[in-house]
């Protein structure tokens, strides 16, 4: 009970910290926010339930008025912004990633986690994001899908990095991949 709670809280803090550190946003010289990678990691490492709860905790604190999103954004305004759907998508993404990592045991961990992150962190998350954008901007789903395509390559990089980070963590701390327990 205590351990579950502290893991959820510490991963929520990690998601927030990854959004605050600008020096970590560089991957292959491309500036991308590491925050959504934190969401993928929460699902891949903590598992579906705890990963989604860590994301929920971050979103709750953002709603309470804390600037925990990348670029110091926060407050209730972000939940009516065009990107609000992506925040809802974070929840689903962490859950789906955790679920896939738990169920899919074949192959190396890095590949499984990358695959899970592509399905959950891109497929599922963009579905929510595009839906939210289409409501707020009053455009069709297809039109919004075209608008967000530019961000897919960056997220594919993050999915691969999530796989590599999770595998490195599994090597240094074999017990830490709680999604597999």
């Amino acid at each position: 009970m205590e351990r579950n709670m502290t893991q959820i809280a510490l991963f929520a803090a990690l998601i927030a910290a990854l959004g605050l550190i600008p020096s970590l946003t560089l991957a292959f010289g491309v500036p991308i926010t590491a925050q959504s990678m934190g969401v993928m990691l929460a699902g891949a490492i903590l598992g579906a339930r705890r990963g989604a709860l860590a994301v929920l905790l971050v979103l709750a604190l953002v709603a309470l008025g804390l600037p925990l999103l990348a670029g110091g954004r926060g407050g209730l305004g972000v939940f009516v912004s065009p990107t609000a759907g992506f925040l809802a998508g974070w929840l689903a993404a962490a859950f789906v990633i955790g679920l896939i990592v738990k169920r899919l045991r074949a192959g190396p961990l890095a590949v499984t986690v990358t695959l899970a992150s592509v399905v959950g962190g891109i497929g599922v998350m963009y579905a929510f994001g595009i839906l939210g954008m289409s409501i707020v901007l009053d455009k069709t789903l297809a039109e919004c899908a075209v608008l967000v395509m530019a961000f897919v390559p960056g997220d594919i990089i993050k999915a691969v990095l999530t796989g590599l980070i999770t595998q490195a963590l599994a090597r240094s701390r074999p017990a830490s991949i709680l999604s597999r327990h």
């Binding site: 009970m1 205590e2 351990r3 709670m5 502290t6 893991q7 959820i8 809280a9 510490l10 991963f11 929520a12 803090a13 990690l14 927030a16 910290a17 990854l18 605050l20 550190i21 020096s23 970590l24 560089l26 991957a27 590491a34 990678m37 990691l41 490492i45 905790l57 971050v58 709750a60 604190l61 309470l64 008025g65 804390l66 600037p67 925990l68 670029g71 954004r73 926060g74 407050g75 209730l76 305004g77 939940f79 009516v80 912004s81 065009p82 409501i135 707020v136 901007l137 009053d138 455009k139 608008l147 990095l161 590599l164 980070i165 490195a168 963590l169 240094s172 701390r173 830490s176």
Partner: protein, 207 residues
Amino acid sequence: MISLTSPVETWAHRIPAGAKLLALPFLTLALFLTGRPWALAAALLVIVLLYLSGGAAFLRQGAGHLRMLWPFLLLIAVWHSLTGQMQAGLVVALRLLAALALANFVTMTTRLSDMIGVLTWLLAPLRRIGLPTRAVELAIAMVLRFTPMLVENGHRLAMSWRARSRRKPGWRIVVPMAALALDDADHVAEALRARGGILNDIPDGRS
């Protein structure tokens, strides 16, 4: 951790947080149901006056929080001038500005302690059916405490990386950051258990 509450004290700071949070979803829904540009323009004007009632500094602060919208406003402007549906574009732009400004107004005029008060009140029924709501409150406090600490960890790891390598520290630094976070989670869990766990309430006056 500093909340986005405005340090400029306005009359709206004194309105109960629960009332503001209850009104917000209804007003936002109204903004999204209205398709008339003049109604949305009037709503936006009222919201600007709300901000202005807090003084010029408060208005400037509020406008600063809307900066994230400009790429979207630019997109709407280009899109709708290409399709020729200028009125539809105006509706979307006005609604976006009004909805965001209104929600930010509530955030800017409500203290973190009042927000947490509302959350605690909302969680009270869950406590009655046996859910550990104390864990939620403790988890919130922990995130507030540990976020700056993990940022600090990141900076220290980046510094030691630079001491060893000429290349920039990249994504690899997230591995020890996550490992340290998991270690901290274990340590705090042990410390909590040693103090009687989160389910046992500490009696009043002995905290």
